[in-house]
Amino acid sequence: MNAPRHLFRIQCIGCVTRFLGTPVQRVILPGGAHLQTPGSQHSNGQFLRSFHCSAVCTTSRPNRTEFEKAVEHPTQHKDKSLITHDDLFERAARDSNTKADFNRVVDVFNKADIRRRGHVEFIYAALKKMPEFGVERDIAVYNKLLDVFPKEVFVPQNFIQRMFNHYPRQQECGVQLLEQIENYGIIPNVETKVLLAQIFGEKSHPMRKYQRIMYWFPRFKHANPFPVPHVLPGDPVELARFSLTRIADDLDAKVTIYQYPSTDITETGQEVTRPHILGIQSPDQRSLLAKHNPCRPVYVEGPFPLWLRKTCVHYFLLKADPIPPEEKVVEEDVDPELIGPEQSLFYPQRVELDLERDMGDDESFYVDDVEEGLVYAMCMAGQGDQATLSQWISGLQETCPILGQIPTVFRLESGPRELQTSSDAQQTPEQEVEIDQIIEDEPQRSQRVN
């Protein structure tokens, strides 16, 4: 419902932080940023309220205030109610946190009280805990949560009920649930619709929210021409292969595995870990490298980050400076007889006329070509140190022997402390702080993308 507004706000914050730089971001964000984490619906509610208090909104939607007052209500009692339900989940999470455990908690709640007392608080608590159980992208679990609502009680029975905001607290809770679905970019299904109709009726706020989601999400689902799968390959080699082909954007480019990851134990008992090294090079790059002037050095640069949803990987480039104009090799002179006019053997590739294209038919537009250095190859490795990367370079020499004569300069920045792979999904607490900073607006981004 308020996704566009939400987005707008995030962009504003983004602008400000970008403008002010990272240190400031840390200062500003704790105030606003925690609102964005998908688990904290109450904060969202609070924010919304202040937003809607603006004159424009109140005039346009007068019944809004009442609605928001209702939202206010649970927040006043939230401490008490939430703790109890949080407790329920925390107790369940103590042993293991899986989808089954989560479902078990919901079942326990359903059975505990036939009247489902406190279900709104329970749902809020459950929504907040979903990422912990790893079920935040599972529509079946959301449906199960919706199922916690008692049926038919909140369906307006007459026109007066329909006109005013019937059971605003429950409706708001339903909307929040749908909003979380929206933020994670998953598409509700027919079951959701049936449940909403049973709980709130055909023309309720949650139903509208559902309809709006269903209007936009299918249209946006394939908006990204370069989708990243939600579950990245676990094997670092596969992940590197995926990332490299993603950056290379040349269907002819070939990935070569220069070294598989392995761990050896030497005679002295030292553990020697050999990191994986994968490189990618297209035939064009190879032929360009073969033409490289051996007097000029090539550079190994990196690491550069590549974000794949919440995972960051790093890659390295084999680069050269732009070729100075005086060194540019003149195009190989093809015998004019072979490509000239009036020959049928190979088709004529030019005509000898003193006529240019007419302005009216010149559909090209001015493009300012900026000369960049040539990128000859790319690589990803388990470690970003010079020793590992020189192994890559020597591997490249097998296909491009000229590389042996070219001086190679390593221009490595202090590498990432640790290359992240999906195996790091369970982050250590120290890392978490750092990563949180980065992923703050990640769900929203994926929402736009999806």
Binding site: I187, P188, N189, M214, F217, P218, R219, K221, H222, L251, E332, D333, V334, D335, E337, L338, I339, P341, E342, Q343, S344, L345, F346, Y347, P348, Q349, R350, V351, E352, L353, D354, L355, E356, R357, D358, G360, D361
Partner: protein
């Protein structure tokens, strides 16, 4: 024909025979005199029919009246044709050749005895010494077995043609007699693994030995017809040549290479879709020592030789295609007449009739184009008919494919089985669009050569126009106004018209198209200038229009002659001509309309975009129609 035209012709072509004189030719030996003279390059003719169409001119003298041969030649040819026809119908087992992928030695021996290995080799070297027209006539029969036709063509239309048109006397005397009898078989080695249509990539290299008497040939040639058993090969290789500025440059040189020179290995014959009986394989040259006397023409002049060989060999595909279609008509019409469905024979159904009409029209047009071109080539001088020959090739290769497919369709499921020859014809016929220059390349050649020719003449005018010269602009506007009011008149019809009155309507359509074409070419040159090279979709349309125009010319000319001299069934020819011309007229109109600026009929931009998107993904782009998003 007007007296003035006759004098015009005699002034341009003094030597030997011309078509007009052909009718009055008293003796046949005039032909042979001409044949032996052909190798002597006399002044090139200035006339060119197809190129002039680009300027909106119809060079009537080139194509009217339709070329004929003398009675003696006709008689000689009929004597020759009969045994060949008999041989092909009795002794050639095409099914077996196709199945076993080899032409049996007895068949080859028979072909050699008939002299079919030296059709165009002059009699003094032991060949038949026939003209292009006669060669085309024989092509009609040899095409009944595509494998044999290709084998013969690889031998003499390209394989030994180099020696014939550019070789010196010593080379001719040394090689031609054995080639004429078929004792030696020739092959033409140009294509390479890396060079299909890419000029720069011929890698085979010939290096001069230290004593300066030999070239050492090294490289690989691909898809060489007769490559497995040819004794004499025309090989094209890079050689280092010092040009005028004293710089060393790589130029292509043509060599006569005997298998006996050593260092030549042939690969395994390719397993092909069609023409399976012909031998196609890879040929490897390893330090093959070629004496310097075996250079054809001069060192570095090989590319011109290759072009001349290929340009002039293409016309015969028209008669070959026509020969094949005529045969198919005979075969399928018998079936259509006897097969009953719903108590009616197939021949009574409109859709089946449509197929026969298509076949007859195509055969008729191909034949007309092929013999018109052959006749032009047989005229004295060194006629440049490469454009016309290329058009014949494109038209007939595509027409044959359609006709064979239609013939197969008449038989339905039966045509699809190996019990009938149609599937073999279909497979064989597919190669026509590929070899001797793919149709795409030839279309580029046709369109660009014409554009170049017209561009040279029109550049000045267009520049004046662009500069805003009021006089020129008014002149053009006036011309356009005149064109829109009155019909274009090239003098084909009317009192002194060259076209028979029964074809007036068709001739008018042709004239209108030709006029429109001329102005379109001018506007294309105005719009694109030299960047026209990049506009392949435009060029394709230009080439298609030109091919249609040439085809219309050929049928108009041929039928006019047929009516005038009262050939049998000329009324059917009139019918075919009028049908074809009407059809071609509207096709041309559509194509020419597409070529106008901002034409709503033109879909080129979209076509390009579709292709780009598909090619960027290298796959079909759309999602499956059954896919869902939720």
């Amino acid at each position: 024909m007007g007296l003035n035209k006759l004098t015009l012709l005699t002034s341009t072509v003094r030597l030997g025979r011309n078509v007009f004189a052909g009718r009055f030719a008293k003796t046949g030996d005039c032909l042979h005199r001409f044949q032996s003279r052909r190798s002597v390059r006399s002044s090139a003719r200035s006339l060119a029919y197809a190129k002039d169409l680009f300027l909106g001119k119809v060079n009537k003298a080139e194509v009217f009246p339709y070329p004929e041969i003398s009675n003696e030649e006709l008689e000689e040819m009929n004597q020759l044709v009969q045994p060949v026809e008999k041989f092909f119908s009795e002794d050639v087992d095409s099914k077996k050749i196709d199945h076993e992928a080899v032409i049996p030695p007895e068949t080859l021996k028979g072909l050699k005895e008939l002299g079919l290995f030296g059709i165009q080799i002059p009699e003094e070297y032991g060949g038949l010494g026939l003209s292009n027209t006669m060669y085309a006539r024989l092509g009609e029969i040899t095409s009944l077995d595509a494998a044999i036709a290709v084998t013969l063509a690889a031998h003499q239309a390209i394989g030994l043609k180099g020696i014939l048109i550019a070789g010196n006397e010593a080379q001719k005397a040394k090689y031609l007699p054995k080639l004429a009898t078929g004792e030696h078989v020739a092959a033409f080695c140009l294509t390479e693994p890396g060079s299909g249509s890419d000029a720069a990539s011929i890698q085979t290299r010939a290096t001069l030995t230290e004593d300066g008497k030999h070239f050492l040939l090294n490289g690989t040639k691909f898809w060489i017809s007769n490559g497995g058993w040819a004794d004499i090969m025309t090989v094209f290789a890079r050689t280092e040549v010092v040009d005028k500025d004293g710089q060393k440059k790589d130029k292509i040189t043509a060599f006569i290479v005997e298998r006996a020179f050593g260092g030549i290995t042939s690969g395994k014959p390719e397993d092909k879709l069609g023409i399976r009986g012909s031998n196609t394989c890879e040929v490897l040259f390893e330090d093959t020592k070629v004496p310097i006397e075996n250079v054809i023409g001069e060192v570095g002049g090989g590319f011109k030789v290759a072009m001349n060989i290929l340009n002039n060999g293409r016309f015969s595909m028209g008669s070959a295609g026509a020969g094949m279609i005529k045969k198919l008509i005979e075969l399928t019409s018998e079936y259509a007449g006897t097969r009953k469905q719903f108590n009616r024979s197939l021949s009574e159904f409109g859709m089946i009739q449509d197929k026969f009409a298509t076949m007859a029209l195509n055969a008729f047009v191909m034949e007309s184009m092929a013999y018109l071109t052959a006749g032009m080539m047989d005229r004295p001088g060194v006629p440049d008919c490469s454009l016309e020959a290329a058009m014949v090739k494109v038209f007939s290769s595509e027409g044959s494919w359609i006709c064979v497919s239609e013939a197969l369709q008449v038989l339905g499921g039966l045509g699809f089985t190996k019990n009938y020859p149609y599937e073999r014809y279909l497979r064989d016929c597919r190669i026509l669009q590929i070899f001797e220059g793919t149709n795409e390349i030839l279309r580029m050649y046709i369109a660009l050569t014409g554009m170049q020719y017209a561009g040279k003449i029109l550049t000045g005018k267009i520049k004046e126009m662009k500069r805003g010269n009021v006089g020129v602009v008014f002149e053009i506007l006036g011309k356009k106004l005149k064109d829109s009011v009155g019909t274009v008149d090239f003098g084909l019809t009317g009192k002194d018209g060259l076209v028979h009155p029964s074809l007036t309507e068709s001739a008018k359509m042709f004239e209108q198209n030709a006029g429109f074409f001329g102005s379109t070419v001018e506007s294309l040159l105005y719009r694109y200038g030299k960047t026209i090279v990049e506009e392949q979709l435009v060029l394709k349309k230009v080439a298609d229009v030109l091919i249609n125009l040439y085809a219309m010319t050929a049928v108009l000319s041929r039928t006019s002659r047929s009516i005038s001299i009262g050939l049998r069934n000329h009324d059917h020819e009139v019918l075919l001509t009028n049908t074809f011309c009407k059809d071609a007229h509207f096709k041309n109109n559509f194509l020419l309309t597409q070529l106008q600026k901002n034409s709503p009929e033109n879909n080129d931009a979209n076509i390009k975009k579709i292709a780009q998107e598909v090619l960027a993904k290298r796959a079909y782009v759309c999602s499956h129609p059954l896919d869902r998003t939720f």
